[in-house]
């Protein structure tokens, strides 16, 4: 329902500050007496750390403090769904991907800090590196986390899949794969933290949910929630990446140790190596369809590579499964989704959250079916598209606002208006 203001494109409220360069992003925050922080990342994707030698690094002029896990024995893991991710990996512990952190280095300038990081010497024992989720699922594969490499399994079973395939005139099987995708938020990760007089840690760093970030930082450090305050600066792109704790926890640890404001800015390279990715997924789809194009059965196996840590993975991968038939009504659906650890950079939320990956698979499958049946792909879609009263693979009945057919019709019209010719 349009109103006097709703439904109209008013000037965006944040645009003026951004076009003038006045909007302050975390990178733009400065404080007197501020220190700079960078972290040392893992030298290898899967290894047990034996020794971290800081002597030469500490001798670099301007270095104020280097923090390792040994300084913080009480530090707990963090994570959005499972608490499986360490902010620091200590002696005798495992690094699980090349973005894991071994030391937090704090100094007077970024240049000095970077210099010191290069002078930290690490000794480690290499373990088998698993980069392929299918290898990770094999019995004899080394386990990346003690509970095993399969983080979780989700199931879907609607209607009667056996009957669905019996009713089919054509059964089509295909496997599809998607890749690791990086968000490329235009602002690399950055933040500034201070320690207030009452010991509250204030953190200015972009996040997609500051209250949840606060809780995760607090629980990892064993602090009461109210001792962490998160303030949102301007956000230089997110796309899901800024759901995970990125620099916030390291900053919080650092300010508590040095009791001076601490700032960090990741390099683009570090941001790409150490922060979340879109889950690569494997889809195995077996689809049953009648000659006239009516879908009768859809069987799906989904395998998602969540990398070294679960992050949002358990939710992302099964969202891919739950959306496996797309906007099409299919009475019989069965499927299973596996979320799997590997030693790749951890995968988390990214725009579409599993539904993006699965759409590539089901829309490819629909086109393949259309060709095999000799039906126009648009007709095949219109024939099966949801309408009010349809049920999703989860068995959810759709009551209203099911505009999928209209989107197809309107898109075709617009395309033809522009001079496009379909098929």
């Amino acid at each position: 329902m349009k109103g006097n203001i709703v439904g109209h494109s008013v000037p965006k409220v944040d645009a003026k500050a951004k076009v003038t360069g006045k909007a302050l992003y975390a990178t733009d925050l400065y404080m007197e007496d501020m220190l700079y922080m960078q972290v040392l990342r893992a030298p290898y994707a899967h290894a047990v750390i034996r020794k971290i030698d800081l002597a030469q690094a500490l001798a670099v002029p301007g270095i104020v403090r280097i923090i390792t896990k040994e300084d913080l024995p009480g530090l707990k893991n963090h994570g959005l769904i499972f608490k499986d991710q360490p902010a620091l990996v200590g002696i005798g512990e495992k690094v699980r991907f090349t973005g894991d952190t071994l030391a937090i280095v704090i100094g007077e300038s970024n240049i000095q800090v970077r210099k010191a990081i290069k002078k930290i010497k690490v000794e480690y024992d290499k373990l088998e590196v698993i980069t392929d989720p299918l290898r990770a699922m094999e019995e004899d594969a080394v386990t990346i986390h003690t509970a095993g490499n399969i983080v979780c399994t989700h199931k879907l079973d609607k209607g009667d899949i056996v009957r669905g395939f019996m009713e089919a005139d054509l059964i089509v099987y295909n496997e599809f794969k998607t890749q690791h995708v990086e968000h490329i938020t235009l602002q690399p990760d950055a933040g500034l933290a201070t320690l207030e007089e009452d010991d509250t840690i204030c953190i200015w760093a972009a996040t997609q949910w500051l209250h949840d970030t606060r809780v995760d930082v607090a629980q990892a450090m064993g602090l009461p929630v109210e001792k962490i305050r998160i303030i949102q600066p301007a956000i230089g792109g997110a796309f899901g990446k800024r759901e995970d704790i990125i620099a916030q926890l390291h900053l919080a640890i650092a300010v508590r140790e040095v009791k001076r404001p601490v700032k960090t800015i990741y390099s683009r390279e570090e941001s790409i190596i150490a922060t979340s990715k879109r889950h690569p997924m494997i889809f195995r789809f077996r689809t049953g369809v009648k000659k006239d194009g009516t879908l009768t059965a859809w069987e799906a196996t989904v395998i998602g590579d969540t990398g070294a840590y679960a992050s949002s993975g358990p939710a992302v991968v099964h969202k891919g499964l739950y959306h496996c038939t797309g906007p099409y009504d299919c009475p019989n659906v069965r499927g299973v989704a596996y979320t799997v650890y590997t030693n790749n950079t951890y995968a988390g939320a990214m725009r579409g959250f599993g539904a993006t990956q699965t759409a590539f698979a089901y829309e490819s499958q629909m086109d393949i079916i259309a060709e095999k049946l000799g039906i126009n792909p648009i007709e095949l879609r219109l024939k099966n598209a949801y309408q009010v009263g349809s049920t999703t693979p989860n068995g959810q009945k759709l009551y209203a606002s099911v505009g999928v057919k209209e989107t197809i019709i309107k898109a075709v019209e617009a395309f033809e208006r522009l001079g496009g010719v379909i098929r």
Binding site: I111, R114, K115, S267
Partner: protein, 291 residues
């Protein structure tokens, strides 16, 4: 400690500096290669000689039957230069395909040559134009060496640390010559070439009288395809057997597999790009070189 910077405003001053400190000096002009290479480790540099302000190296001139391009001429200048557009449009096109406007505004032709990237986009047209590099040192004076001899490996050239490139020189192409530049990158801007190719043909009617083909990113240096050049001599550029000769191109190249393409793909693409370049020439989609 810390690095030492020096800006020189006269060529002689720069040469003196290099004479004294060449071994420990990194030369910086537009900075588009040096600051990438030393990103986050500028402290590892010892001396930096800034030559950006050497105005005397910033012009494009016709001297007798040659074109002399000062080493500090930027890609933008090359792209916009009437002299280059009229006499060597393939070089203007190649310069315009490099990086982005910002990079073209800073990146210089001398820097591109000194960087000696196997994929350097201006290097292939320069090779096809039969260009030479003019460089100079304080005590050994000026040398002029063909670009082909100048480049010896990825990032490597024959110049000593006390020498500085002052110009690129190439003969003004004859009236009957026509050239083309073709590049394949994985996107349309800010893309390093997977393969690039530059072609200069001297045509007598449709017959190839003279031919130079240079390829980038298919060998340790950008290089000429000498075998194919020879086979193409005397062929009719409109005939299909001319294009079949390009099947021999793989003997001229030695590509590697990397993130921008496999050995096989580069081999396929090298042939395809030269084919497309010749087609552009046949279809007269390129401006005629020469006066």
């Amino acid at each position: 400690m810390g690095i030492i910077g020096f800006t020189s405003r006269r060529l002689n001053e720069a040469l003196q500096y290099l004479h004294q400190y060449g071994d420990e000096t990194t030369i910086i002009a537009g900075g588009t290669d040096v600051l990438v290479k030393y990103h986050e480790r500028l402290d590892e540099l010892h001396r930096v000689l800034n030559i950006w302000q050497l105005e005397e190296l910033k012009s494009i001139r016709i001297i007798n039957d040659q074109i002399e391009v000062g080493s500090l001429v930027t890609h933008t200048q090359l792209e916009d230069s009437t002299i280059i557009q009229q006499n060597a449009p393939l070089l203007a096109e190649a310069a315009g395909s490099v990086g982005s406007p910002q990079i073209r505004n800073r990146g210089t032709i001398g820097g591109n040559v000194a960087n000696a990237s196997p994929a350097g986009d201006t290097l292939t047209p320069l090779l096809a134009l039969d260009a030479s590099v003019k460089f100079v040192s304080l005590d050994r004076g000026e040398k002029v060496v063909s670009l082909e001899e100048f480049l010896v490996g990825p990032g490597r050239h024959i110049m000593k640390k006390d020498e500085l490139i002052t110009a690129l020189i190439f003969p003004i192409p004859k009236d009957n010559t026509v050239g083309a530049f073709v590049k394949l990158g994985y996107r349309k801007a800010l893309a390093i070439s997977t393969v690039n190719a530059a072609i200069m043909l001297g045509l007598q009617g449709n017959l190839i009288e003279d031919c130079r083909i240079a390829l980038g990113a298919v060998a340790p240096t950008t290089k000429r395809a000498k075998l194919v050049e020879e086979l193409l001599q005397g062929q009719d550029v409109t005939k299909s057997n001319t294009f079949e000769i390009l099947g021999q191109l793989e003997k001229d190249i030695a590509p590697i597999s990397d993130i921008r393409g496999s050995q096989q793909y580069r081999t396929d693409i090298a042939r395809e790009l030269v084919t497309q370049g010749l087609q552009k020439i046949v279809n007269k989609e390129v401006g005629r070189s020469g006066r």
